[in-house]
Symmetry: C2
Subunit: 492 residues, 2 copies
């Protein structure tokens, strides 16, 4: 076969794998948005089947031979070969039996987690979590590592990242944040009561979310917004990207900031190149989170943003915002205070929630912490980093769905996202001097376009740290984030 | 391996095939309900991939050996083996290349059909339809037949049915209907103007649909109702069944009768046994249509039904129904008049629309009619059976999506459904003497329960005609339908 024919076969095979993943994404989106309750059991089976098929397709021997034989002709093709090889090398080491067992255990664990959380009984979730940790340890050992199991799992979310590097960067971030948060918290707390009044018409919130997302440049011909209990986003393909937000009458900020966050993810997906190829995927989950956090916090919680949007908000919510001025609003949505629940945390303390999880996961995978001792260890971390002790496990160790999904190694990507976002914003401010003026005038497209040209459209040509370095000149460095937080919260 | 282990392997393999089909169903549902417009191309590719995988799984050699080796232990298992063998025998005869080409051509053809229909230009759709007809002819020849290609395609929708039998039954139905429709049409037309006034609040229509479907016993924990341009339903599994209806301010009846129709399909799906097995599927598309048409027409267009529901309707639509009494309403929703568009046709003329399509499809597959001559042939049939000539091809030969999907052989199942429904209602009236009294009192569950016990819960234990015969004592016979129509429309 000539080189072109080989490449076509390789491309068709890898496209099929991406397509199987996209189909799984749709099933998961549907599960959280429109699936009727009794659909759960069949859906878990369908997802498990698709995961098995995806794994089998990666392990296909013909794909292995093609990887050896194809001759990539440019950077994009070389990147695709490198990425597929990495993915396949990981896949072939994991037996199909383990893939299936993980998928099935995840399906059941989520159900047990939901019930255990509602009943505030960690005991009911414990055996499932213990099983998942055992399976993930086994998986990490199959994949292989140089002594640190966590590295083997982290690689799936953040290619090129290691625990050793994470511990440095996140350790310094923690050391900077703990005193910084204490300093901010020592200042008088802003008024936030109006945010939680039972006064926020959900239909009006919905319209505001749509307005803001549209202004960000999200393409509604190639995506949509729906409601779900937990906001999330999936980009099946750049031409079909789904966002969700949650709407609550007693919360004036959550829907909007969730929408900003998810649309940040969504713009990344819509801006990816070469649909259906491996190089046309996001460079890492950390970089993905940088996009969501950049829009949610760096843009969405800026004074410039509210210069334009606060008057619009007041039009939509004349009652809920009666007597509230733009500065009071801005203060309220930037209230930094230690809290128990990650998803409600402000942009400064958020990283301490992540630190706690990262360190606990590390101990679980190393085997130095038993799942039975996890609640006590969780509570001790919260006491140490945030000065708070959860009253029960529902708002403590069981608050997140991630572990019930078996996702160990994912959490650090949230903090990596915050770190990357700070560095990207710094670079953007230099490259686009009129940026904040545009934001203040309601024009968000300069932000989107800069990110699109430099991040989104590059796909996974190189790993995230190298990509960010090529754009900003900086490697992963927590100092930009710490400087941003100090400047924002302590400068006056 | 012992018999039990063999059976488990067989069951797991066949369940995977059913699961792949269910996943395709979800993708199709999403395509018609929530998918953003630019998602089309990727969706067509995903559906084509799933169809190829389904075909490959059916052709799997191991499945062939299992079919030879398994020892079914009861009627249900024997039925499953028979059904899987039939499905596999058909599949192995069709090359994977043809399956893929059909799926891809269908994806493109639908897009071209939409555009051609909007532009009223059959010429733009003609090459795609010609290609689909050629591919379906090829497929039929691969599968094999005794001289009539149509039989090979019909078998997929209506196992056990043949063109020879269809021509007899539908021929007699046509011969009875043409004069019957003329007789009814000679009578004074009822008032229908209010049905088409721009006065039907869509939110109120939505609530009525939900009320009626709930009263039918549709389980909303295991299903849902959404909006779409063309009403349809899919039962991925009995615990996840999706219905849609369309809502238009200038149509007071269409949403409701569509909802009744689709919920009739949905109740069948929710009532099927043994989820994930082959015996746990509907016995045929004709029997499926019997369920939808039974609810839509025999129940939903009865006087008894409106005894209970008309007062509720008038509460919801005080303006639209001002000055309209229950008898006027009943007359309006039972207006029999020849018309051009199948989906708007009344229960009597509907079958003449089907007859025209069946006969044209037969000629296309035999090769006695060229696609280029199809519009003229269509118009001639309409002239002959309905006395009407389409002003353009959009309301003529291009009105249905089925041919753009490549579905040739499907249409007759609609008329089989009407025929079966009449026979089932006749049997139900005998078996449940208080049936119409219950319906008049708003209690629709006796109807659902009778159908559930006798039809739905039997799955595909036997083919549809045998199933109907075991329930009613009658084989497929158009006389029940003709008698019902005569009695309803000519008795006074």
């Amino acid at each position: 076969m000539d080189a072109g024919t080989l490449w076509d076969e390789f491309e068709a095979k890898t496209r099929e794998i991406r397509d199987l993943i996209a189909v799984s994404d749709l099933l998961q989106w549907d599960q959280e948005t429109y699936m009727p309750p009794r659909g759960e059991a069949a859906r878990a089976r369908h997802l498990s089947l698709l995961k098995s098929r995806t794994h089998a397709a990666l392990c296909d021997e013909r794909l292995g031979r093609l990887l050896d034989d194809v001759r990539p002709r440019d950077d994009a093709e070389r990147a695709t070969v490198r990425l597929v090889r990495r993915e396949r090398d990981r896949a072939v080491k994991v037996p199909a039996r383990l893939v299936k067992e993980l998928a099935e255990t995840q399906g059941h664990a989520v159900e047990h987690w939901k019930r255990a959380r509602a009943a505030k009984r960690f005991e009911d979730f414990r055996p499932w979590l213990a099983r998942l940790v055992a399976l993930r340890r086994e998986q990490a050992d199959c994949i292989g590592h140089a002594g640190e199991r966590y590295d083997a799992l982290l690689e799936a979310y953040e290619p090129g990242m290691t625990v050793a590097r994470l511990q440095q960067v996140l350790g310094r971030l923690r050391d900077g944040l703990v005193p910084l948060v204490a300093q901010i918290a020592a200042r008088p707390a802003p008024r936030t009561d109006f945010l939680h009044a039972d006064a926020w018409d959900v239909d009006a919130q919905w319209l505001v979310c749509l307005d803001v997302i549209r202004a960000m440049g999200f393409d509604f011909e190639a995506g949509r917004l729906d409601r779900s209990v937990h906001p999330f986003s999936v980009g099946m393909v750049p031409s079909d990207v789904r966002l969700t937000t949650r709407l609550r009458r007693d919360d004036g900020a959550s829907a909007l900031f969730s929408a900003l966050h998810e649309a940040g993810h969504g713009l990344y997906e819509q801006g990816l190149p070469a649909e259906g190829t491996w190089v046309g995927t996001a460079a890492s989950m950390g970089l993905h989170e940088s996009q969501s956090r950049l829009w949610e916090n760096f843009v969405g919680r800026s004074r410039a943003f509210w210069t334009h949007w606060f008057p619009k908000l007041r039009e939509r919510f004349p009652h809920a915002l009666a007597g509230v001025g733009p500065e009071e609003w801005w203060q309220a949505v930037n209230c930094v205070r230690p809290s128990l629940v990650r998803v409600d945390a402000d942009e400064a303390t958020y990283n301490l929630h992540i630190l706690a999880r990262f360190e606990l996961e590390l101990d679980l995978l190393r085997g130095t912490l038993d799942v039975a001792d996890l609640p006590a260890a969780w509570n001790a971390k919260y006491e140490r980093y945030l000065g708070l002790r959860p009253p029960d496990d529902a708002v403590g160790v069981m608050q997140d769905i991630h572990w019930a999904w078996g996702e160990l190694g994912y959490f650090p990507t949230y903090s990596l996202g915050n770190v990357y976002a700070a560095t990207l914003v710094k670079a953007m401010e230099k490259a686009v001097p009129g940026m904040w003026k545009s934001v203040a005038a309601g024009d968000l497209l300069p932000v989107r376009d800069w990110l699109r040209a430099r991040i989104h459209s590059r796909g996974h040509l190189v790993d995230s740290e190298e990509l960010v370095r090529s754009v900003t000149g900086s490697v992963l460095d927590e100092r930009d984030l710490l400087a941003y937080l100090r400047e924002k919260y302590l400068s006056k």
